[in-house]
């Protein structure tokens, strides 16, 4: 039987997803045993042209990380989709947009204006900006243009499976790859990781009461967290209840609350809204003034708290661009 063909590719990635793949370490040898890697820019020299030359559908699985920010990303993932039997979105950027999708709450114009004119160190009285076409000392130069928003992978091509996390852990990466390679295919649309919320695997779960009720909310820098008590009971927002398990509670072992990088549990389409409704339901304040005061004093940041990794999935913010 011929070896399976696997492609890895990165779009708008920070490189952390590649680090996670390299952290497979000894498992990488098992991977090379089981499959031919036909594309992996971080470590191997295959390139776009090589992929173009392959027959359609000849790659068994393409594992793609990073969000879609540039036109080249769009082209490349469409090419990979055509060449591949299965496409896997790897990491929260490909899955939901990830942290760079927080930029979707700002217009392209305001991002450029700040970066090239308003930033305190910039000295640019002529208002120069990077241009798609410009020249330097008589040489004509081109720059790629920026898409209007950062999009998750499944908004551009069909995605078969998802590997969550920012970045995913090497363990889940291996679990997903080996299950796909062995032909034990989960149902289409499956998200690897646990099918239950993070709380179930959290070492502090025993201390989490059946019913939680918060009289106030504290931000992580305002409190010395007790590492032995569920953070919610300490008044600190922890995304554990509305986040898919599978990381084995890494942040919590670092004595900090979960911020939700594994995305929503099965059946929830938008983690941000779910989080907002969950936290509203456990806040025990029924007097409007008290509530308003809490929100104002605290400086609630719903995007950063509840939709930190999933804003790319939320289309509501994109309206701003169109106006």
């Amino acid at each position: 039987m011929p070896k399976a063909k696997v492609a890895f590719y990165w779009c708008a990635s920070c490189g952390g997803c590649e680090e996670a793949q390299v952290d497979l370490a000894d498992k990488l040898f098992d991977l090379v045993e089981a499959a031919d890697i036909v594309l992996w820019p971080v470590a191997m020299d295959f390139k776009r042209e090589d992929v173009e030359r392959m027959p359609d559908g000849s790659i068994d699985v393409a594992i793609i990380n990073g969000g879609i920010r540039m036109s080249e990303h769009e082209e490349m993932v469409k090419l990979l989709r055509r060449k591949s039997k299965l496409v896997v979105a790897y990491g929260s950027c490909a899955h939901m947009g990830g942290i760079p999708a927080l930029a979707n709450a700002y217009t392209k114009e305001s991002i450029f204006k700040y970066a090239y004119e308003e930033a305190p160190t910039v000295n640019n009285p002529e208002g120069r900006r990077p241009e798609v076409r410009a020249s330097f000392d008589g040489v004509e130069l081109e720059l790629p243009a920026f898409l209007d928003y950062l999009k998750p992978l499944d908004e551009v091509v069909e995605v078969d499976y998802y590997i969550p996390g920012c970045p995913p852990t090497p363990e889940i990466t291996w679990e997903a790859i080996s299950s796909i390679l062995s032909g034990k295919l989960p149902p289409k649309g499956h998200v690897f990781g646990s099918d239950r919320a993070l709380c179930y695997e959290c070492p502090l779960n025993e201390t989490k009461p059946e019913k939680i009720s918060l009289d106030t909310i504290k931000r992580p820098h305002q409190i010395v967290l007790d590492p032995n008590k569920c953070y919610l009971t300490q008044g600190v927002l922890c995304m554990g209840p509305v986040t898919r398990g599978g990381c084995k509670a890494l942040c919590i072992k670092g004595n900090m609350p979960c911020t939700g990088c594994f995305g929503p549990v099965d059946g929830v389409s938008y983690q941000g809204a779910k989080a907002l409704s969950f936290f509203s339901s456990i806040i025990n304040i029924d007097d409007e003034n008290t509530f308003r005061k809490l929100v104002e004093e605290l400086g609630v940041d719903p995007l950063g708290w509840f939709a930190k990794y999933c804003l790319g999935k939320g289309t509501i913010y994109r309206k701003k661009e169109e106006r």
Binding site: G15, K47, A119, A134, L143
Partner: protein
């Protein structure tokens, strides 16, 4: 179009694009390094809670997340006006040196090193880890991989997540070092010192004992007389985690020494329409275009610049190597771009020795690792030396600590103007009469690779597909050769 060559690269972080234009004799009229991306972190930090900045900004780059995490954390100390307890500072500095050692090792053995270890004009299939295995043996590579794994494990013990840590908070760190973790840190530090010595021996045996290499390092094609910048401690020794920013002029004389809080008095940025990266320069000298020399405000950061901007290393073995470095290269400052590699290995030795110093100090085991902020936040500025140079985070918030404005002066950006110079000069020196081959082009690339650039960071953008595109045009603007590595 005469020919198109396509050739991917894996030894650069972030996008880069080089365009070379030839005159009618086939000599270089101009070679340009472009950075084709932008992400806009400074903008979308606005509206976020300040204490989240160390986690958000680590997503600027998954290759040096710890540098952003730490610069942001230090900016938060300043923002909330709270001093961390000694143990917290020591834990931070320890973890940071673990990261520096791990990251420098990656560059030395995988990204930049192959140019020397395997050879600058060796076949392109060999100028990578594969070539290193052939040259140094599989055991050596195994040692690199295993050591890297152990160092990264320490990062997880201390930071929760390896790649995007959750350790840093204003006034301290999220958790103290447990006794079991301390033991693992201690043992790995010991191995770290052996590993750094081993890297130095590899450098010495392969590069320094080869006269041709030393000549190449010293050659004019890779030389630029610019200013140099780096963090120094009270004795003007190199420090990665803390200190004052010191700048020396091209003759090696102190030009400025300042607290990062005053960086706006010293650093400004220039914008060009043909690249997304902003070019930093010394305000006190001014932007004079892409020229080197004392009259030009262009400066350099990262290992060589750090060594040039300091008087020595604070640990014994590294300091010996420091002295030897300047002796062999003929005095201070060293202007040879390729000497960055050598300086990087000296820094590996320092990082390992510093890890040991910190972990051996009983104070690091104290459980007192947090002071809670009590003051109203307003402006916070923090600095560290990233592997790729001086990194500054600057936040302004309202009284609740919601970010209103952010400015990031990112390591590679500080080298961006000098890299443009380096690529142009190397191309001019190496490409003659239209003769271009892969070896020559690799030697052009070496001119920027020495900086270990991370264009993802420089543009607060995305490494994305990391392609390097070299387009060569003749004097009639016909594309005669394109080398794409993507």
């Amino acid at each position: 179009m005469r020919e198109v060559v396509i050739d991917p690269i894996t030894r650069l972080e972030g996008h880069g694009k080089i365009v070379i234009k030839l005159d009618e004799n086939g000599n270089v009229q101009k070679a340009i390094l472009q950075v084709p991306e932008l992400r806009g972190f400074e903008k979308f930090l606005v509206g976020r809670t300040a204490e989240d900045a160390p986690q958000i900004t680590s997503r600027i780059c998954g290759v040096c997340p710890w540098a952003h995490h730490m610069a942001a954390t230090k900016a938060l100390d300043d923002l909330f006006k709270v001093e961390p307890p000694l143990a917290a500072k020591m834990i931070r500095e320890f973890a940071y040196n673990v990261f520096m050692l791990e990251d420098h090792a990656l560059h030395f053995f995988v990204l930049g090193g192959p140019d020397f270890i395997v050879g600058p004009t060796a076949a392109k299939e060999e100028r990578n880890l594969v070539g290193i295995i052939k040259k140094l043996g599989a055991d050596v590579v195994k040692n690199v991989i295993i050591t890297r794994k152990k160092l990264r494990y320490l990062e997880q013990l201390i930071g929760g997540k390896i790649t995007h840590p959750v350790l840093g908070l204003p006034g301290g760190v999220a958790k103290p070092l447990s006794d079991e973790d301390w033991k693992i840190c201690f043992d790995t530090s010991k191995e770290g010192i052996e590993f750094a010595k081993f890297a130095y021996k590899a450098l010495k045996d392969i590069v320094l004992s080869n006269d041709q290499y030393v000549e190449l390092i010293k050659s004019d094609a890779y030389t630029h007389k610019t200013y140099y910048m780096g963090l120094v401690d009270d004795n003007n020794n190199v420090n990665f985690y803390d200190g004052k920013i010191r700048v020396v002029d091209p003759e090696g004389r102190e030009f400025a020494k300042f607290d990062v809080r005053n960086y706006l008095d010293h650093i400004a940025e220039h914008v060009e329409p043909w690249t997304y990266v902003r070019f930093t320069y010394l305000k006190g000298v001014g932007w004079k275009g892409f020229v080197d020399g004392k009259e030009s405000g262009i400066y350099s950061v990262a290992p060589l610049a750090r060594l040039n901007a300091s008087n020595g290393m604070a640990t014994p073995m590294a300091n010996e190597l420091y002295k030897e470095f300047y002796q062999v290269m003929g005095g201070k400052p060293i202007h040879s771009t390729l000497a960055f590699h050598w300086a990087r290995v000296i820094e590996m030795v320092y990082a390992a020795e510093r890890m040991m110093e910190l972990i051996e100090n009983p104070e690091i085991r104290s459980k007192d690792v947090r002071n809670l902020p009590k003051e109203r936040p307003d402006v916070g500025i923090g600095v560290v030396e990233a592997p790729r140079g001086t990194l500054i985070h600057h936040y302004e918030t309202d009284e609740r600590g919601i970010i209103k404005r952010a400015n990031l002066i990112v390591a590679t950006q500080n080298n961006s103007a000098r890299m443009v110079l380096s690529v142009d000069k190397a191309a001019r020196s190496l490409i003659k009469n239209g003769k271009i081959d892969d070896g020559i082009l690799n030697m052009v690339e070496m001119a920027f690779r020495a900086y270990d650039p991370c264009h993802a960071c420089a543009t607060h953008s995305l490494p994305g597909s990391m392609p390097l595109i070299v387009r060569i045009y003749d004097s009639d603007d016909n594309l005669i050769k394109e080398i794409r590595r993507d």
